[in-house]
C-alpha cells in the first residue's frame, strides 16, 4: 500500500497535463470538478457564439457594400483570428490553472487518507512545496500569457490599422489613376471626333488602330470594320494617271520605314471605288528610338483642286485674249514712232511713247501671269542644254543696260574663270537673271552700282546679284517671294511692278534643283556702302534634270535669240 501510494503521488506530480485528471482517483469524483467542466463548456459555447456573431456582422457588412468586400473580409478575418487567439489563450491558461488546483486537492485528499503513515510529515512537506510551486507557476504563466497576449493584440491592432490605412490609400490611388485615364480617353475621343480631317493611326505593320469620324466620312468605311485591317489594303491610293500606288510607295509606309514626316497629295479609293483627292500628312510615332506606329491626317482637296484648275484655265484664257489687242497697240505705236505714217512732232512722239511704255507694262504683266499659271499647273518644260554662263550673262546685261544706262548705273560682272558648260535650261535661267537685274536697277537710285558674281562652291554654281539700292525692309523679308507681294518701301518709289518677278524666279530655281536667298540692309540712315540687297541662288553643277511637260516658259522664245 505504502509503496503504491508513495508511487502514485510522484506520478501525478510528474503529469501536470490535463489527461492526468482522468487517471487521478476515479473513486473520488468531486463536486468542484463538475462545475469546472460546466464553466469550460459555457466558455466554449460563448466563444463559438461570439465568433459566429462576428462572422455574421462581417458578412453583412460585405454584403451591404459590394465595393468594399475585400476590405471587410480582411478586417473580419483578422478580427476573428485575433479573438480566436485571445480566447484560446484564455482557455489554455484556465485549464493549466485548473489542473494545478486539482493536483493540490488530490494531494490533500491522499494525505487525509494516509493519516498515521510514518512518512506523513515528509509527504506534507513535499505536498506543501509542490503546491507552492504550482501556485507560482500558475501566476507566472498567467502573467506571461497576459503580457504576451497584450503585446500580440497591440501588434495585431497596429498592423491591422496600418493595413487599413494602406488599403484605403491604395484604393484611393488606383481609383484616381483610373479616373485620370478615363478623362484622358474622353478628351482624346472628343478631339478625334471633332477634327475635320481624317485621322488614322496604325501599328508598325500598317494595321489600323484608330479611325476617326472624319476618316469614316472620307473613305466610306466604318471604324469597326477597319480597325485591325491593313490600311494600305483597305484604302488603296492611286496616281493621277489611274495606276495604283504600291504599298512601298505609300506615304504612310514611308513614314513607318523612314521615321520621317511625309507630306503629299494622293487620290484615295473609297469603299465603293469612288475617288477622292486628298492632302496627306503622315507622321511616325517614335518611342525610345523605335517606330511604334504612324498617324496619318488627310483631308479632301477635290474642291480646292477644281478651283485651282479653273483659275489656271481662266488665267491662261484671259492672258491669250488680252494679248491680241496688246499686240495691235504695240505695233501701231511702233509704226507711229517710226514715222511710218509720217513724221511726228516732239510732243506727238512723247505721247505715242507713253502709250507704248504703258502697253509694254501690260504685256509683261500678262506674260508673268501666264508663266505663273503654267508653273503652278506644272506645265513647264525644263529643257537643259550645256550652257556657257559667260555668254548667258553677257546677253542679259546687254538687255538690262538700256534701263541701267538711263539711270546712270554701273553694272559689274565677274564670272569664275574656270567654269565648265553647265547643263541648265538657258531660257529659264536667263529669265532669272533678267528679273534679278531688272529689280536691282529698278530699286537702286540713279548713279548706283549693280554687280553680278558667278562662282563655284563645292558642287554648286553660286550666282550673286547685288545692288546698293533701297533694300528690303526686315518685316517684308519672309513675304518677298510671295505672289503679288511688293516691298512696302519700294511701292512708294516705283509704281511699276506686279510682285510676280521673285515668285517666278524662286519657282524656276527650285524646279531646277537649286535654292535662292538674299541679304538686305534697308534704311536711308545707313552709309552708302552698306545699304542695298544681294540675291544669291545656287544651281547644281551636275545640271538640272529635264522635265518634259508641254510648255516652255515663253513658248515664243523657243527658237528665238
Amino acid at each position: 500500500m505504502d509503496s503504491q501510494n508513495s508511487q502514485s503521488v510522484p506520478q501525478s506530480i510528474g503529469k501536470i497535463l490535463p489527461e492526468s485528471i482522468n487517471n487521478v482517483n476515479p473513486p473520488f469524483p468531486s463536486k468542484k470538478n463538475s462545475t469546472k467542466i460546466k464553466d469550460k463548456l459555457l466558455l466554449i459555447a460563448g466563444f463559438s457564439a461570439f465568433t459566429i456573431a462576428l462572422l455574421c456582422i462581417f458578412f453583412y457588412l460585405s454584403f451591404l457594400s459590394s465595393n468594399l468586400t475585400i476590405r471587410f473580409f480582411i478586417i473580419g478575418a483578422t478580427v476573428i483570428i485575433v479573438s480566436n487567439t485571445v480566447v484560446a489563450i484564455l482557455l489554455f491558461s484556465k485549464k493549466t490553472t485548473e489542473s494545478a488546483v486539482r493536483t493540490n486537492e488530490e494531494i490533500e485528499i491522499n494525505a487525509k487518507n494516509n493519516q498515521g503513515h510514518k512518512f506523513d510529515g515528509e509527504k506534507r512537506d513535499d505536498n506543501g512545496q509542490s503546491s507552492k510551486y504550482f501556485d507560482e507557476t500558475t501566476e507566472k504563466l498567467k502573467a506571461s500569457y497576459f503580457e504576451d497576449l497584450e503585446e500580440k493584440i497591440q501588434d495585431k491592432t497596429k498592423a491591422l490599422a496600418q493595413r487599413i490605412v494602406e488599403l484605403n490609400f491604395e484604393h484611393k490611388k488606383s481609383k484616381e489613376a483610373e479616373e485620370k485615364a478615363l478623362i484622358e480617353q474622353a478628351k482624346e475621343e472628343a478631339t478625334l471626333t471633332s477634327i475635320g480631317e481624317g485621322v488614322v493611326v496604325t501599328d508598325p505593320e500598317g494595321k489600323i488602330l484608330v479611325f476617326n469620324h472624319a476618316a469614316e466620312q472620307l473613305t466610306n468605311w466604318i471604324a469597326s470594320e477597319v480597325v485591325g485591317r491593313f490600311w494600305f489594303e483597305t484604302v488603296p491610293a492611286m496616281y493621277e494617271n489611274g495606276g495604283l500606288i504600291s504599298r512601298i510607295d505609300r506615304d504612310m509606309y514611308k513614314a513607318l520605314t523612314t521615321g520621317k514626316k511625309v507630306f503629299a497629295e494622293s487620290i484615295y479609293l473609297q469603299k465603293g471605288a469612288r475617288k477622292i483627292t486628298v492632302a496627306i500628312t503622315a507622321t511616325p510615332i517614335i518611342f525610345k528610338n523605335q517606330i511604334i506606329g504612324a498617324v496619318e491626317v488627310f483631308r479632301d482637296i477635290s474642291h480646292e483642286k477644281e478651283i485651282d484648275r479653273m483659275k489656271t484655265e481662266f488665267i491662261s484664257l484671259a492672258s491669250h485674249q488680252l494679248r491680241t489687242p496688246l499686240s495691235a497697240v504695240k505695233w501701231f505705236c511702233e509704226m507711229l514712232l517710226n514715222g511710218d505714217a509720217g513724221e511726228l512732232n516732239t510732243e506727238q512722239k512723247e505721247y505715242a511713247q507713253n502709250v507704248s511704255d504703258s502697253n509694254e507694262r501690260m504685256i509683261s504683266l500678262v506674260n508673268s501671269l501666264l508663266n505663273i499659271s503654267r508653273i503652278e499647273s506644272g506645265r513647264i518644260i525644263i529643257d537643259p542644254k550645256p550652257t556657257n554662263m559667260n555668254e548667258l550673262i553677257s546677253g542679259v546685261v546687254k538687255e538690262i543696260k538700256v534701263k541701267s544706262d538711263a539711270k546712270k548705273q554701273q553694272i559689274i560682272v565677274s564670272v569664275h574663270s574656270d567654269l565648265p558648260l553647265i547643263n541648265i535650261d538657258p531660257q529659264l535661267i536667263r529669265e532669272v537673271y533678267i528679273n534679278l537685274l531688272t529689280n536691282a536697277s529698278k530699286y537702286t537710285p540713279s548713279g548706283g552700282e549693280i554687280s553680278v558674281f558667278i562662282s563655284k562652291k563645292d558642287d554648286k554654281l553660286i550666282s550673286q546679284v547685288s545692288d546698293n539700292g533701297y533694300g528690303i525692309p526686315k518685316k517684308d523679308s519672309d513675304k518677298i517671294f510671295q505672289k503679288f507681294y511688293r516691298g512696302e518701301n519700294i511701292i512708294k518709289i516705283e509704281t511699276d511692278g506686279n510682285g510676280l518677278g521673285l515668285y517666278l524666279v524662286k519657282a524656276i530655281i527650285e524646279s531646277s534643283g537649286g535654292s535662292i536667298w538674299f541679304e538686305s540692309n534697308e534704311g536711308t540712315g545707313l552709309p552708302a556702302g552698306r545699304q542695298g540687297t544681294s540675291f544669291y541662288f545656287s544651281l547644281p553643277l551636275s545640271g538640272t534634270e529635264a522635265k518634259k511637260v508641254k510648255v516652255t516658259l515663253n513658248s515664243s522664245n523657243v527658237y528665238n535669240k
Binding site: 495691235a328 505695233w331 501701231f332 513658248s555
Partner: protein, 131 residues
C-alpha cells in the same frame, strides 16, 4: 522682174493686225498678200500665178486653226515648199509642237515682238529657203 521683190502671204483674222503687218512689210520692200481667213488664203494660193516666198500665219483663225491650214497646204506638193512662220498669241501646250511637227518653221508670240524685229526674221527665212 517682180521676183526680185519678195512676197509674203499674211493670214491673220484680226483686221487691225493684218493692216499693220501689211503696211510694215510694204514699207520694208516686201509685197504683202493679206488674207483675213484660212479659206481666203487657200483660194488665193490656188489663183496665184506665182507662189509667195513665205506665209505669215496666225494660229487662231475664224474659220480654221493653224493645224488645219497646214494640213491643207500639204495637199499640194508645191505648197509644202513655202516656209510657214506662225505668229500667234496662242501659246498653249500642244499647239506649238504640233505646228512645228507639221512643218512650220517658227512659232513666234505676237505680243513679244516689235514689227521691226519680225521683218528681218521673215527676210532671213526667205533667204534660207532660196539657198
Amino acid at each position: 522682174m517682180s521676183k526680185q521683190k519678195p512676197t509674203i502671204m499674211i493670214v491673220e483674222d484680226e483686221w487691225l493686225l493684218l493692216q499693220a503687218i501689211s503696211k510694215k512689210l510694204e514699207l520694208n520692200g516686201i509685197t504683202a498678200i493679206p488674207c483675213s481667213s484660212g479659206k481666203e488664203a487657200i483660194g488665193c494660193l490656188d489663183n496665184l500665178s506665182e507662189l509667195p516666198d513665205a506665209i505669215w500665219l496666225d494660229y487662231q483663225l475664224k474659220d480654221m486653226d493653224g493645224i488645219e491650214f497646214l494640213g491643207r497646204l500639204k495637199k499640194k506638193e508645191t505648197w509644202t515648199q513655202i516656209p510657214v512662220i506662225v505668229v500667234s498669241n496662242s501659246a498653249s501646250e500642244n499647239k506649238i509642237n504640233n505646228m512645228l511637227a507639221l512643218g512650220a518653221k517658227r512659232y513666234l508670240l505676237k505680243a513679244e515682238y516689235r514689227l521691226d524685229e519680225l521683218i528681218p526674221i521673215m527676210k532671213q527665212f526667205i533667204e534660207e529657203n532660196k539657198s
